[in-house]
């Protein structure tokens, strides 16, 4: 089994999820509570990766972080390296690709928080940020866990974007799904089968744990 690829995939999923947690929570908060008239545009942009073919997203990311784009040039100036076909470039693409899988569960969890809890907090003199931290997030734990798990699992299984942005460099950008594809290409069905089974088992386990956890959390904190 291609342990290097499995390790790389886990690493990529971990960092993607962590970044999405830090990025997704404020975005979801803004999407839930902002009264801005054109909010729907941002909502659509965030949800775009769900409907877009991964190759299309990958293509644009590749162009955007390439050495000819301002972002790519700036990064090169800063670090002396190029983003495409590197782990960091892959990370950027992964974050964009899994963004809706974090933001949407977060936002729908925020929406279900009883408005009166938030207002009660304000009336007690507590700022909007602290209210977010001490009331909204704790009351949205099941949704936040769901968002974390979904982004992790989604990143673990990504293929098209990785191929476009990362290519197939062992230990750097060759993730599990690419590795399986490679094995099948070279007719190593046994190896591909083993890795696939592992991924299948892992995905199933993650979902079972999430659902079980959600049930327990909502039993502990009934949100009526």
């Amino acid at each position: 089994m291609d342990w290097v690829a499995i390790g790389l995939s886990l690493r990529l999923s971990f960092w993607t999820t962590l970044i999405l947690l830090l990025l997704g929570l404020p975005i979801a908060h803004w999407l839930t509570f902002s009264g801005w008239r054109w909010k729907v545009l941002i909502e659509a942009i965030v949800a775009l990766p769900i409907v877009l073919p991964p190759t299309v997203l990958g293509f644009y990311v590749l162009i955007a972080i390439g050495p000819r784009s301002p972002i790519g040039r700036f990064y090169q100036l800063l670090t002396g390296e190029l983003l495409p076909f590197s782990f960091r470039g892959l990370l950027v693409a992964s974050v964009l690709y899994s963004l809706p899988f974090a933001v949407q569960p977060f936002a729908s969890a925020f929406k279900t928080v009883d408005r009166r809890f938030i207002e009660a907090s304000w009336c007690l003199g507590v700022s909007q940020f602290t209210t977010f931290r001490r009331v909204i997030i704790p009351l949205s734990i099941p949704g936040i866990i769901a968002g974390i798990v979904l982004s992790f699992a989604h990143t673990l299984g990504e293929f098209g974007v990785v191929l476009m942005v990362g290519g197939n460099l062992p230990g750097i950008t060759r993730t599990v799904s690419i590795s399986i594809y490679d094995e099948v290409q070279s007719l190593n069905y046994d190896l591909a089968g083993q890795t696939s089974l592992l991924l299948l088992g892992f995905s199933f386990l993650v979902l079972v744990v999430t659902y079980a956890l959600q049930r327990r959390v909502s039993a502990v904190w009934p949100m009526n």
Partner: protein
Amino acid sequence: MADELILRVTKSFPSGVTVEADLCVLQSPPSVTVLFGPSGSGKTTLLRCLAGLERPDRGIIRFGNELWYDSNRGISLSPQERHIGYLFQEYALFPHLTVRQNLEYGLNHRSREQRAQRVLTLMDLLQLGDLEGRYPRQLSGGQMQRVALARALAPEPQLLLLDEPLSALDDPTRARLRGELRRLLTQIRVATVLVTHDRSEAIALGDQLAVVAGGRIQQVGPVEEVFRYPANHHVAQSVGVETVLPGKVTETGFGLLKVQAGRVQLTAADPGDIEGSDVYLCIRAEEVILEKGAASKDSARNHLHGRVISLTPEGVLVRVTVDCGAPIIALVTRQSALELNLSEGEMLTVVIKATAVHLIPRGTSANHSVTSLPVMHGHPTTAS
């Protein structure tokens, strides 16, 4: 003026409903203002405007020297900046925090010792006993109400806003907590605005009564005045035709209470929840009987002699106000009025059964204890 609460706002909703208010209450000494009216009349909207949770379209909100809202100057303070305490209808206790954590929630800026001290004071004031480790879902309705009140009071707000503080409770608990709440409000002496649709709650808890009907404050005044002189039919409809008199319990025994109201002494059935001597007497106008000529023998405990001050026809009924040392309102049929040949200035006898005198306890409040001499027979000021 320094110690005034001014609420002069208009707010329209997309549904076409408009809520208007023009309210100005003195707050020295701090008093309890009741916004009273049927559900959907806009009371809660006004309370939310005061809290800063709702933004009016136009107007001004001022508390003492602080300008909270002024549409002309573009000023609108956030709820955080107003230093208020807000009690929500269903209490909105944070479900993920214990009672203690709920109480400490608004005390973030204080040191650990100060926080602990404040929580201790509040637990004591509201008799929260050993509830501090419990979660809200482990509390009864009455306990939740007290915890929510304690939480609202924790940061020492300058204005307390109570939205239907008792409506989420079952009947027996509500009756018990009504007295407790009044005692608490007079004890803490914080300016309070309270919203209710319940008449006995309004009478029991308020110093000032503001009647809200049809999205508008119809009348503001001391509780008994609003009941006695409804400014228009909206108010009359909301408050009902009823005599409301402040009084003092002077004697108890045999399940009866003797109550002095102005120059009138009345006997009332003991409702069993009277603590302290201050009460409001409420007598429904329909239950007052008028007699003329020699008093006949009957079972009613109260026979008062008085002079008819006014006669107002109200549909098939006539509203008769009789001065018996205090104005008592009777509602009789047109037929009876004709048969008795009633006219203004005439003397007659007002008959009221002891069970028709409904008493609402007021504890012994600071505002009404000016003449609180020891309660005994033959009150010196009332020898008549």
